[in-house]
């Protein structure tokens, strides 16, 4: 996804001269083409993320469209107050890109994990929160972001995510239904979609047919889809804490409905991980791999 980000921002900036890329000393070689094409519109802001966000807000106040790019925890929780005040309170159209979100950098430990970014970012007024599932959806989300004049948080993976979506299908506030079935509804948020689709395949072998939604738009939610979920159990699935994130947003919506369907929130437990291993292993540890998901879903609806 990060290569798709670098290529798409290059293409966008070639035609939109307001776009300025700020990096927190990350993306080695990733932005070489951008820097060569537009040397005055790329700034490595160093290992100083709080200043990068304030600086971006200053750029935006003069009519530019800055993008802040670094590893998820460093561009969200580390500089939260700058995002809250300098970006959101001033309605500055700053785009914040958290790369390597969730368990992407599982091996690097809790310093590089981000299980709370959705919770925190969606609590900020005016902030759009988008978690595209793959590279085509990221590109489409970026095109939407730069066609608006609003702040946005893009939660992305690292590299090599399988392509699961069609580029043209992304719309903010609209989810895509990828499978239809009557036994369960699976709401997949972000790059975990690949595991959710594989889980749906496993369930289908046992004659459990699930509806699968790709829910890249976390804020705003797809209120239309949520209002017509039906009565079978609903599972929110995210590579994020079970507290405060996508599943909580769904729960907030359903709590206001009469006779809502049962909601089971699946995500990372409310604890830090103390384990070595790559993203795949961490997903298994957290019960977020396809097999674990299928087992959990089958057990919940039995």
């Amino acid at each position: 996804m990060r290569n798709a980000f670098a290529d798409e921002i290059l293409q966008l900036a070639l035609v939109d001269e307001r776009i300025v890329v700020l990096s927190g000393d990350i993306g080695n070689r990733l932005f070489d083409k951008f820097k060569a094409a537009m040397p005055t519109r790329f700034y490595n802001c160093g290992v100083a993320e709080a200043n990068m966000i304030s600086l971006a807000a200053g750029l935006a106040s003069s009519g530019l469209r800055p993008v802040c790019y670094t590893i998820t925890p460093f561009v969200t929780t580390r500089c939260l107050e700058q995002i809250k005040l300098d970006v959101c309170y001033h309605n500055m159209p700053v785009t914040i890109v958290g790369t390597g979100s969730g368990l992407s950098y599982a091996a690097l430990g809790s310093t590089h994990h981000s299980f709370e970014d959705l919770a925190i970012m969606r609590s900020l007024p005016g902030m759009n929160v988008l978690a595209p599932a793959d590279a085509p959806e990221l590109r489409a989300a970026m095109r939407w972001v730069f066609a608006q004049n609003q702040s946005a948080y893009l939660r992305i993976g690292k590299k090599g995510e399988p392509v699961l979506t069609e580029e043209a299908a992304f719309m903010v506030g609209r989810w895509q239904r990828l499978r239809t079935g009557s036994s369960a509804t699976l709401l997949a948020c972000g790059t975990i979609l690949s595991e959710v689709l594989a889980a749906a395949d496993l369930l289908a072998k046992d004659d459990i047919q699930a509806t699968v939604w790709n829910c890249a738009s976390v804020k705003p939610l797809d209120l239309e889809a949520l209002a017509h979920l039906g009565s079978s159990p609903v599972f929110s699935i995210e590579e994020h804490s079970v507290l405060g994130g996508f599943g909580s947003a769904v729960a907030e919506f359903l709590s206001g409905r009469t006779n809502p369907p049962r909601l089971i929130r699946i995500g990372i437990p409310d604890e830090f991980l103390h384990d070595c291993g790559e993203q795949e292993e961490a997903r298994v540890y957290c019960g977020l791999d396809a097999a674990s998901l299928a087992r959990r879903i089958a057990a919940e609806i039995a």
Partner: protein, 269 residues
């Protein structure tokens, strides 16, 4: 040459003292310490138009020590950004002058500050934009000495000299105090000018109550470096009973004390 500015500074100081009494609001002393800096900037340096406060070519002043914003309000009112009678409703519910600055509510206020350490980064962004857009306006950021304890100030300070920017100046209102004590007793503030110099800034130290010194530091020819003006000031400047007494970080004056201040400042009541 600067007598008109000095008169104006006295008027503003008295209005501030009266406002603090009327609104029973805090942070009077830190507002009084930066009045001369504001007067020099707004009446001699900044290219601004009160009739068009958001014009794209205006010079920007980011008032980063947001707790002292009453000083900015009186300045902006006297310049005609909004009617002076608005000052009578400072810090009142439903009025347009909140206790900490908010640009959506008050014409001429550039940025919502009050959480310290944000203004320099924002100002740096604005100064970079002026270079990218080839819009040659100047950017000024007024910070407090206590504010220089925020790490984010030094993030911006370390980055700015490496970048191509429009003219960028930080003014440190070095009144020597912060909320609960002398700033030098709380953190290693000194040598403050040297800190900025070693970070790559063109730094100087001045008497922040001397109009000639303030103006000469502001108009001095520039090299490629951003400029830092360390303005030594007195917290509570203007009324002997407020000066250098940190109780006035929070307290507000009585009617009797307002009268006393008027006498000391030579304001007819």
């Amino acid at each position: 040459m600067t007598a008109d500015l000095e008169t104006r500074a006295r008027e503003i100081r008295f209005r501030l003292i009266r406002m603090s009494h009327e609104a029973q609001s805090a942070h009077l002393a830190g507002a009084l310490s930066c009045v001369d800096l504001l007067v020099a900037l707004y009446w001699r340096i900044l290219k601004i138009d009160p009739a068009n406060p958001a014009g794209p070519n205006r010079d920007r002043l980011i008032f980063s020590k947001g707790h002292a914003v009453s000083a900015l309000y009186v300045t902006l009112a006297k310049l005609g950004f909004f009617p002076e009678e608005n000052l009578a409703r400072y810090n009142q519910h439903g009025a347009s002058l909140p206790e900490q600055p908010c640009p959506q509510m008050t014409p001429g206020v550039e940025w919502a500050t009050g959480s310290l350490g944000h203004g320099l980064g924002v100002g740096l962004g604005i100064a970079i934009a002026s270079s990218i857009q080839q819009n040659p306006h100047s950017t000024f950021v007024l910070v407090s000495d206590g504010e220089c304890q925020e790490g984010s100030v030094w993030e911006a300070a370390m980055l700015a000299p490496k970048l191509k920017t429009g003219p960028l100046t930080v003014l440190v209102d070095f009144n020597g105090w912060q909320a609960t004590g002398r700033s030098r007793d709380i953190m290693q503030m000194e040598p403050l000018a040297e800190k900025w110099t070693t970070f790559g800034w063109d730094a100087c130290e001045i008497d922040g109550h001397s109009m000639p010194e303030i103006l000469s530091a502001l108009v001095k020819p520039r090299d490629h470096r951003p400029r830092a003006i360390i303005a030594h000031t007195t917290k509570g400047k203007g009324a002997s009973f407020i000066e250098d007494d940190n109780n006035w970080h929070y307290r507000s004056p009585s009617a009797e004390e307002v009268k006393k201040a008027a006498q000391e400042l030579g304001i007819a009541q």
